[in-house]
């Protein structure tokens, strides 16, 4: 999957299996990533688990478990409730049935956005900087530390390949760029959309990139500055950029 960390590092990772995104005194979020069927080496998220920890003796929140899996995006916690705490410090909101659910955690001003696109899950969170807990050198939180180097994929190099054995590769890439551009996806999200289309051919990933872009524009505190130039990594790269690929 593609990851934007709290520090705005943008990475493409393998991270097969279960990995923590966040764990702190208030909540835990963890994803499970599975290899895609056709053996491309790519993985995608098919499960998300969120645990809300008790807060103020249950006045604001009791311990709650939320689990989304491929094909099942619940609108409640595991116990069937939609709120937590006597004062309802936590609420689940169904925005689009089967596609978009949000967990609002009032007492820590935190919003978690969970989407199901095709058969896969996407995750986005906005939380106060002061509540992010760095766990030192052993920290495994993907949102905090990013992916381990051994798990990272250099997607820019992958996309710039022009000598692939597949004779249709260049045409596929032009087609993928056109589809992603048509969806009005830009910046790293354009690159990740192209990468996903090339590795899977699954058009659902175009929608996933588009949704992720929507979420970052909504949740990122500096989104208007972040995307001021709306350039992908290709624009300033030494390898063939999108303009070259598209023949100017």
């Amino acid at each position: 999957p593609h990851l934007r960390t709290f520090d705005d590092l943008f990475q493409t990772c393998k991270v097969a299996g279960a990995w923590p995104l966040i764990y702190n005194d208030y909540l835990t979020a963890q994803v499970t990533n599975v290899p895609l069927v056709h053996g491309s080496g790519a993985t995608a998220t098919n499960k998300l688990t969120v645990i809300i920890k008790p807060f103020r003796d249950g006045e604001c929140a009791q311990r709650k478990l939320y689990q989304a899996t491929a094909g099942n995006l619940p609108t409640t916690f595991d116990d069937g409730t939609i709120t937590s705490g006597r004062e309802e410090g936590v609420v689940i909101i169904e925005v689009i049935p089967g596609e978009h659910v949000e967990i609002h955690i009032r007492y820590i001003a935190t919003l978690i956005v969970i989407r199901q696109v095709g058969r896969y899950i996407t995750f986005a969170v906005r939380m106060p900087e002061e509540l992010i807990q760095y766990q030192g050198a052993e920290d495994m939180q993907l949102c905090v530390k990013g992916c381990p180097v051994s798990e990272q994929i250099d997607y820019a190099t992958f996309l710039s390949q022009t000598t692939r054995a597949d004779r249709n590769y260049k045409e596929l890439r032009v087609d993928a760029i056109a589809k992603c551009r048509k969806a009005k996806i830009y910046d790293e999200y354009l690159d990740s959309c192209v990468f996903d289309l090339l590795t899977t051919g699954d058009a659902n990933f175009t929608q996933a990139a588009k949704s992720a872009l929507t979420d970052v524009n909504r949740l990122h505190p500096n989104a208007s500055f972040l995307f001021k130039n709306r350039t992908s990594v290709f624009e300033n790269a030494s390898f063939p950029g999108y303009r070259d690929i598209e023949g100017g």
Binding site: T83, G85, V91, I108, A109, V125, E129, T200
Partner: protein, 141 residues
């Protein structure tokens, strides 16, 4: 400066509406104004989006005669001048405190955004810390 949050909510509110002198649209403008008013001006110093929004909302309310539209909405007479022919809003359009798609559940967008405490409920569950935020996201393959 949380102006983007307010603008997001306004866009979501008005997405299914036709702009014009209609009660639903005027209520959306009212919500937008309240949300912007909750933002501490000091946190938006130099933010053009914030300052232009502060100017534009009253202009729109004047242009669409929102004061009159909402007054007539509250006191409907036999000869209403303004037709309320808007498409139904996503939230039903008549709940002043609904957030997009909340299906009538408690409003939480303004709560998370606002420094002002919500009316009702325990103050102990209000977040009072720093409003400097971070974002993280995971998607795709």
């Amino acid at each position: 400066c949380d102006i983007l949050w307010c603008s997001y909510q306004y866009e979501a509110d008005t997405d299914p509406l036709d702009p014009g002198p209609y009660p639903d649209f005027c209520r959306a403008l009212q919500r937008y104004q309240r949300c912007v008013d909750r933002i501490s001006p000091g946190s938006c110093r130099g933010d053009l989006h914030y300052h232009s929004t502060k100017t534009v909302i009253p202009d729109l309310q004047r242009n669409y005669e929102c004061e009159r539209v909402l007054r007539e909405e509250n006191n409907p007479g036999p000869t209403r001048a303004v037709e309320t022919t808007t498409r139904p809003s996503r939230n039903g359009g008549d709940n002043d405190s609904d957030s997009p798609g909340t299906n009538g559940r408690p409003p939480f967008f303004p709560d998370i955004l606002s420094d002002a405490p919500e009316t009702g409920g325990s103050q102990r569950c209000q977040y009072t810390g720093s409003r400097s935020f971070r974002h993280c996201g995971l998607f795709g393959d």
